[in-house]
Amino acid sequence: MAQVEITHSELHSETRLLRKNRWRHLRKNVSLWTGAILVAMVIIIAIFAPWLTPFSPIQLNYSAILQAPNATHWFGTDELGRDVLTRVFFGARTSMEVSIGSVVISLVIGIPVGLLSGFYRGIVDEWLVMRVVDAIQAFPFLILSLVLAAMLGPGIRNATFAIAVGYIPVFVRTVRGQVLLEMEKEYIQSARALGARDWRIMLRHVFPNITTPLIIQATLAVASGIVAEASLSYLGLGAQPPTPSWGSMLHTAQGYLTEAPWLAIVPGIAIAVAVLGFNLLGDGLQIWLDPRKRRS
């Protein structure tokens, strides 16, 4: 049999071609770029809110109640005379705090449970972990968050926890599914044959190979977390007054549709832009990191 020899320069040019290809796909990935820009915008607004506006988000101003959009208050003022745009900026903080916070909590619980469950399998995995996951997922996401938030009491911290509970099964499932796929691969068997301990195989070999779907899932979860937070706050179970939240601003707006229709516009646009950003970023990452998705 003729031996195939690959020279160093051939290997080098092959790698260069792969990188070039990857970069070409990255440049063409409109979802990824648009998503990244929108997400960056929302996060920058959330972080730098106090420096972006001269107004206070909570200070009442009875001389400026329900003012239509004007040169001073670009998007008008609310029923307590507060600048709408300022409250939308600060609302980004609440939204990001709750949505990102809930995803982080569910990752912290979901990753180890999914890893252990997929790694050891057995009765505990099949009949306990997965059935609990099924049971939690049987509750419509918003109903679960609503009921948990109601039982725990209103507030940002409880809303974050209530939303997180809904995501835990999603991450357990994602991690477990990926672990099962990885465990079939030869490198795991090699690691085993070399005498590597279970925790080392899990953390050093399996985990690094399952981060891609996790990152994508987490990004998409933040998007639905934003809607969940807005929904809970709309119902009065999320952020409590005077803390600004997009959902509670929409709730107030509904009471003033005749006198002050502008109140209903900007918070809604803010939610849509933030959700669109995280959705596009998630889709873009999927297209970039999973070549099978590039086709469509």
């Binding site: 049971a135 918003l142 609503l146 119902l235 005749t258």
Partner: protein, 317 residues
């Protein structure tokens, strides 16, 4: 058949765990639930009486067994607000939610099908790009904001629809339809966007297959191929995922019903949350979860009937 039996059997432990979660909900209330329900001014006697009424003075496993026994007999307890049966409250509200859900699904199908088919036929063309862009935006825009905008446009500005006030269908079908249009469209847009993307993807997958190429080679028109061949095959994954969307839809309807003041299941949940009527909260949460488990079960069983590959896969797994 073996697959169906196995699938039904796996639903039993799930329903059992669902019951444990719902039972434990009341114990998530910080402090003494009876005290929280009755408020700060409640007398110790009243608190003790309610604690006994709710059975909270008994050991947890006993409480659970008693509660489960009642639930299995179809008794979800009595409302803490006025002592009315929770079953009755739910049965009163359920028809509104079912009607709204059916209308929402109809709206979603009416938008998703033409758009999904057109997008797949004109893949990569401006029509496809526009449809995909609309779907991406449709998924991002929260239904409850669309609902508020609809109220602003169609009830406050042009008075085409009533802002609230539900009329049962048997009393006045026209007025009933009027009260359903805005909420159904507000919720349906998002569902349509999800379905449309799914249908387009499934159609594109099928259109790449050999039998489609053969049909085309035999001179069949683009639409003929889609309607007679591709759509039938693309529908299977769409129906399954569509069935799974029911859970999300039920959650979404909670907010829609609140915005449009529809006296449905979702607004009952929200009202009982705020009136601290925890037995009704438990009852509605349980019914919602059981409904989702059953819908998923039916979808899976139907799927296995439509697509025999599922049963084969199940057997080998």
């Amino acid at each position: 058949m073996a697959y169906i039996v196995r699938r039904v059997l796996t639903a039993i432990p799930v329903l059992w765990i669902v019951s444990i979660i719902v039972f434990l909900l009341i114990h998530l209330i910080p402090g003494n639930p009876a005290q929280v329900i009755l408020g700060q001014d409640a007398t110790p006697t009243a608190i003790a009486a309610l604690t006994a009424q709710l059975g909270l003075n008994k050991p947890l496993p006993i409480q659970y067994i008693q509660w489960l026994g009642q639930v299995l007999q179809g008794n979800l307890g009595k409302s803490l607000l006025d002592g009315e049966s929770v079953n009755h409250l739910i049965m009163q509200r359920l028809p509104v939610t079912v009607e709204l859900a059916v209308c929402t699904i109809l709206v979603a199908l009416l938008i998703a099908f033409p758009m999904g088919i057109l997008a797949a036929v004109f893949r990569g063309k401006w029509l496809d790009v526009t449809a995909l862009f609309s779907a991406t935006v449709g998924i991002a825009v929260p239904p409850f904001w669309i609902g508020i905008l609809f109220l602003l446009l169609f009830t406050v500005r042009v008075h085409w629809f009533p802002s609230s006030g539900y009329v049962p269908i048997w009393q006045n079908p026209l007025q009933n339809l009027q009260s359903m249009v805005l909420p159904a469209v507000a919720t349906g847009i998002r569902e349509a966007a999800v379905l449309m993307r799914m249908l387009r993807g499934a159609l594109l997958d099928v259109l790449d297959m050999d039998f489609i190429r053969t049909a085309r080679a035999k001179g069949m028109s683009g639409y003929g191929v889609i309607i007679h061949h591709a759509l039938k095959n693309a529908l299977i994954p769409v129906i399954t995922t569509g069935g799974l969307q029911i859970a999300g839809l039920l959650g979404g309807l909670v907010i829609t019903e609140t915005i449009f003041s529809l006296p449905g299941f979702g607004s009952l949940l929200v009202q009982s949350v705020f009136s601290r009527d925890y037995t009704t909260v438990q009852g509605t949460a349980l019914i919602a979860a059981v409904a989702v488990v059953l819908v998923n079960l039916v979808v899976d069983v139907l799927y296995s009937v439509v697509d025999p590959r599922i049963q084969l896969g199940g057997r080998s797994a």
